[in-house]
Symmetry: C2
Subunit: 313 residues, 2 copies
């Protein structure tokens, strides 16, 4: 019962073997996508290097939308297809997931050390869990336990209205909005949102200083504009995560993933995430029911693929 | 296989018999709660009037929160308890649901005539469905089909941030907010929200005119302040429903229920619900995927109880 699990990112693809719901830790290998013509070439290389094991199930996670067993890696124009994965690997059963869904399926497989606490709170076994991806975009998935398995739902929560509670927020929303005048959560909380926030902060006292998100994070807390940028990001993240918590009641915990989440995590407590997360009027007490942690496991999507195969096989 | 289904509202309780997933239409009876000491007395009366049928399953829907098989009707201090219902009816299996969950379970049992179209769109069989209750409060439930049944989720979506997109919205949010300064969706879209909106509209040109929601709806479109109140309600409803659609992707349809929803339904098209529902920037096209209809079936909660019993029995 050896299975193949694959995590196809924009730049690299990781592959591993899995047994039951767990990946074989020392079987993980990483390949740069630009050295290959497509996913099949990567899989053939991996299987050859792994000694050509017999594969009876395969699951791949893709950084992009998946429909009816197919998806596309847009920057390289790779078409990813369950049928093609079955042909190359010889697996009877193949599943293709969106990478965020895979992260949702991974939650039971994470080691405690892979979770950095952000906000303390209880985590009820069997409770709904919420995964918030903060990276190139903002993506959310909700993980329900049902009588028979795990339901990982899809949504476009990164594109809902940016919450606005004061004149300053409204000024920011106007600055961040596209030509259509609509300001979405993603316009501020995705990676590019940090640069937008910094532009907005600096434009209030002079010409906007256009610098990248990673530079802004590195410059805080010493640089006042960078610190103000991170403070505003934290306030908006708290408010958005708080609304998401009321939309889904994640008594099983809230999990942040992605490059921006990891980079911001050391700053969130200093900048008052708890206050903005819990500022929900008479529902502020309820907000203490929800714990937040950041996932730092690079293999989480691979683990989610293994768990999903074990559950559906 | 006769089952008992019950819908316990704040003023009246309805009871009916059910066979399989359907209620026996001519078995529905309604009782005023204030004529009884508690639910058990209502059920004993109903069963006696129905000829003392043998009941092998019972399901009750309650207008209030339900936890661990128990709930409370707050205005009459009735304690509702699955064990007590089992004792009075003799049923082996008893389920107590929140009334909104029951409405979620009812969707497959509604006759087409019980749905008033609000916004056209496709309704995918098997797609997620969203129920938005607009009445004394604002309540939302999400109905997922899983491999083995129906998952009806809980949330507190009436208490998320009121979406604000312009100076006028911000002025309204400040007016509607409680002492804590937090303006929630429910502060504007619940029944009392109509009165708040009317106060806000009239206070901008003179002393606020305090009138009830039903009077405001009756006065539109001829009375300018009433019409402006309904127009603002419609704009906020569209924006809130649009955000909810992005949070849950209800390709199976959006369903409005409750007294305010029914009263507002004839006005929503005239007042531009479609525009505010679909104003989501580059996601505006996606918003055409979601149909909205208002449920006008008084027996919907009873039907949901029957469907839930049939599915779980």
């Amino acid at each position: 019962m050896t299975r193949l699990v694959v995590d196809i990112g924009g730049t690299n693809t990781r592959a591993a073997l899995a047994e039951g719901p767990r990946i074989v830790e020392d079987s993980v290998r990483r390949y740069r996508n630009d050295g290959f013509a497509g996913l099949s070439a990567v899989l053939m290389r991996y299987l050859a290097e792994a000694g050509s094991p017999q594969i009876d199930g395969a699951c791949a996670a893709l950084a992009g939308p998946v429909q009816a067993g197919r998806g596309r890696l847009t920057n390289l124009d790779w078409l990813i297809d369950e049928a093609e994965i079955a042909r190359v690997t010889g697996a009877d059963r193949v599943r293709l997931l969106n990478d965020l869904q895979a992260q949702g399926h991974a939650l039971d497989q994470l080691a405690p050390v892979a979770l950095v606490p952000v906000l303390d709170g209880p985590r009820a076994v069997g409770g709904v869990r919420l995964v918030i991806g903060l990276g190139t975009g903002v993506n959310v998935t909700v993980v329900h336990r049902t009588g028979t398995g795990t339901l990982v739902t899809a949504n476009e929560a990164g594109h809902v209205s940016l919450p606005v509670a004061c004149e300053e927020d409204l000024s920011l929303a106007r600055f961040a909005a596209g030509e259509d005048g609509f300001a979405a959560v993603e316009d501020v909380l995705a990676g590019r949102g940090l640069a937008t926030l910094h532009d907005w902060v600096t434009s209030r006292t002079g010409p906007p200083q256009r610098i990248e998100g990673s530079e802004i994070i590195a410059a805080a807390p010493d640089d006042p504009a960078a610190e103000q940028t991170l403070r505003t990001y934290t306030r908006m993240l708290g408010r958005v995560a708080g609304d998401l918590a009321l939309h889904h009641l994640p008594y099983g915990g809230i999990y942040l993933i992605g490059g921006v989440a990891r980079a911001m995590t050391p700053h969130l407590a200093r900048l008052g995430l708890d206050d903005s997360f819990r500022a929900k009027g008479r529902f502020s007490r309820l907000m203490e029911s929800f714990a937040i942690a950041t996932i730092t496991d690079d293999f989480a999507a691979l683990r989610g693929c293994a768990a999903h195969l074990a559950e559906t096989a």
